[in-house]
Amino acid sequence: MTAVSKDRLRGTLDVLILKTLTWGPRHGYAVARWLEATTGDSLTIEEGSLYPALYRMEQRGWIESEWGTSELGRQAKFYQLTAAGRRQLRLQTAEWRAFVDVVGRVLQPDS
């Protein structure tokens, strides 16, 4: 697998985070680790860079947060999807698929 460029990554980060949260509320660190684990080395997400994205999505009402206690017994902020967030995820996923589809068809050699 080749590495995805940073620019493409930025637009994609939101949808990936939303996807991560579909399995239930989790804190920022868990989101980061899950992203790392699932994407392997293809996506290099700088440590902590997902937080501004989380804050922005919270502002837009896609996700909401609550303080809770983590597995280490420390205060942590847990994020979960809102109805708007689920809608957003569906929308972006569909868009992404359509985009990949079109680009894929164009780039397909001699089909």
Binding site: G24, P25, H27, G28, Y29, A32, R33, E46, E47, G48, S49, Y51, P52, Y55, R56, E58, Q59, E64, S65, E66, W67, G68, S70, L72, R74, Q75, A76, K77, F78, Q80
Partner: protein
Amino acid sequence: MPFPFWSPALHRRLFRRNVTDAVATELDFHLAMLAHDLERGGTDPADARRLAAARFNNLANIAAECRTIGHETERNMRRTLYLQEFLDDVRFAVRQLLKAPAFAIIAVFTLALGIGATTVIFSAVDAVLLRRFAFANPDRAVFVNESFKGQDGNVSAGNYLDWAAMSHSFSALTAEEFRSFNLTTPEAPERVLGGRVTANFFPALGVPPLHGRVFTAADDEPGNDGVVVLGEGLWRSHFGGDLGVLGRPVQLDGEVRTVIGIMPAGFDPTISQEELWVPVAFDAARRAEHDEHYLNVVGVLKPGVTLQQAQRDMDRVSRIERQRFPKDAYGSHVVGVADFITAPYRTPLLLLQGAVLLVLLIACGNVANLQLARSSSRAREMAIRAAIGAGRGRIVRQLLTENLLLAAFAGVIALVLAQLGIGALRVNAPAGIPRLEEAHIGWTVAVFAIGAAALSALLSGLMPALQLSRRDLQGTLRESGRQSQGTIRDRVRTALIVAEVALALPVLIGAGLLLRSATHLQHVDPGFDLNNVVMARAILPAGSPDQHILAIQRVVDDLSHRPGIAAAAMTSQAPMGPGGTSNGLLAEGKPFSQENLVQSRLRLVTTGYLATMKLRLKQGRWFSDQDAAGAPLVMIISEAVARAMFPGENPIGKRVGCCAPNSLKTVIGVVGDVRSNGPAQDIIPEFYLPLGQAPADAWNWIGNIMTVTVRGTTPDPAAATQAIRAAVRTVMPAAPVFRITTMRDALSATIAVDHFNTVLLVSLGVIGMLLAAIGIYGVVGYFVTLRTHEIGVRMALGATGTQALRLLAWQGLVPIVIGLAIGSGLAVSSATLLQASLYGVSAHDPLTYGAVISVLLLAGFLATVLPARRAARVEPMQALQ
């Protein structure tokens, strides 16, 4: 991690956490977790934390970005929350008001009436006083008047031209002479008011013509001035709005003039309602004329020049003029155009505005009182709200929302009422209040109404809300809503009575004073018998003075033979009528000086004038037919002239110079003073000349317009009116007859504005008093309910019904008396503002004060006793159960 529920309350608690803190905690947690994982992967614990931190390239940037977004989110949330709460409050308020529809309706209409009335008066204030005049630089436009012994007057052509040449303060000094013209139309000759203006008149005011052009300097030359500019109104009404009229000739006073331009609608810089303009085109004689004061001089101050500077400049110019023309030049007075035009209406309008605001305050007091009455039944509701955690501020906000809603409804209804009210005002207001017809609900007025509504919401709601939210929580819940401690609110209610009475009294006093003044005016002696007198203006056809005199004599002869006419005469100017000129009189032998000159109004009369008007001849004799041309020159003076010229002497036989060079006239009689400008105006000196001896110039002075006066045999003016028309038509078929009116109507017109003010203020006073009485009634009624139990105890212990009544009446009357005392203080200090509108009565007239205080006391007493009587009927057993 479960998310139990998502509520605004939870939201609030969440976001109360400091954003900076939250970001730090969150990122710190991330670091700790990272370190923890590294440790588990075998990293040395001492290095783990350092390595974790090293993985962050940009910790500070990330934190800053998060903080910015977080703060923004918090602000949005707070706004949303506030709006959410507000909407909740509104929804709740609607439910509350629907539950108490009687209260809601009474409160809304009380406020709507108050706000509506306030808005109507404000629309008049806005139209008459506040709106800028519709020409360029209205703030710099000034009248420059001749001033003589403190009186402003018009300017002579010679003085005007010298002023223009010598003054330095004006970017333009223009002159206009008002004149009515005979406009010849296919139907009948018609009188149209016009202005003869200097060429710089239109450019100085900066209003371009709607069509065509205005005058050039070339038009403003004698012989070259056969042009006319029409007003938009006249152009539409008489020329069908046809542009083809430009360049066409029209006949004005028999002269042909070419229409060159049309001024836009609303061009009326001095609110004089002239409908056309022609060049003034001074000829050489007029330029040298310093004695005939006809011009209205309007100047535009140079930018940066103040009124005071302009006045000083003009004082200097006037001094030079007086040295050159000691006889004819006076002082000068520079005054803002808007100030000069609106000055007479400023104080009365502002007083009305003040009075109506007081009434609005009283209305707010009543609504506050209604709310207090409801609050006893809502105490439990509030206690429960407080018990589940609503802070006092939150409860006050919710209660104020109810008031805001009431006021919003009231405001909408008030705007409808105001629209009707403004219509009624414009229809019923006397003519002549400048720009009143422009009153309407525009932006300024709408904003004012919204402000008044918001203020009413606050005033009527804040106090009850504070009271209600302050209640002792546990006490109320334990008492299960039963009233026991009304003391604090009693004090509030008592204060309400004091305030309402104190506010109502000044309005009522003002109304009382104006009523007294109006009664006084009705009894002012006009100096003649105005019953059955009808008058009309008639324009003499062009002709020589002899022809004029002959025509006038024939009209009077014709009239006196007609049925229904007791007496008939013609005069250059009748009391309460338009026209008229004044001349300086100088007693024979007195040296010429401004002090010795007695400026008096001239009245050219036919011999029947004395009998027609029933003037009082005080001394000497009246004119006879022998006082004609060629006979010795005679005059009759009014008592005011006699007092001024011949104090302590017998004026009969004295000779007086006036009206023409070296012309001495012998005083043959003295007549009683006449209130020529109406009962509200001071008496002015007047003198009479027989028609046959009219000075040659007099026909110009009066513009060839005479007034026909007849005394009918019945009060019905129909016969007299017809007779005047018929007689004038018989003698001078082409002469227009206009401004036909009875003397009584003409007199009423002179005091119409005062009368109107009186009606308005009296209505406001009565409304204020009724509102205050309703307020008192409500409060005392509440006291009765509150003390039923106590009274029952008292009566069980042997008190009589009368004693119970006295107890409660006392509770109501004390605040009324205190209110009257405070109100009297307010009235005494504010009534002086009214003094200028009062005639024959002092602003501190004890009789009025006594009467008004008695009336208000009586109203208060009734409002107290009616509900208090219930207390006397209390059945002890019932009350105690």
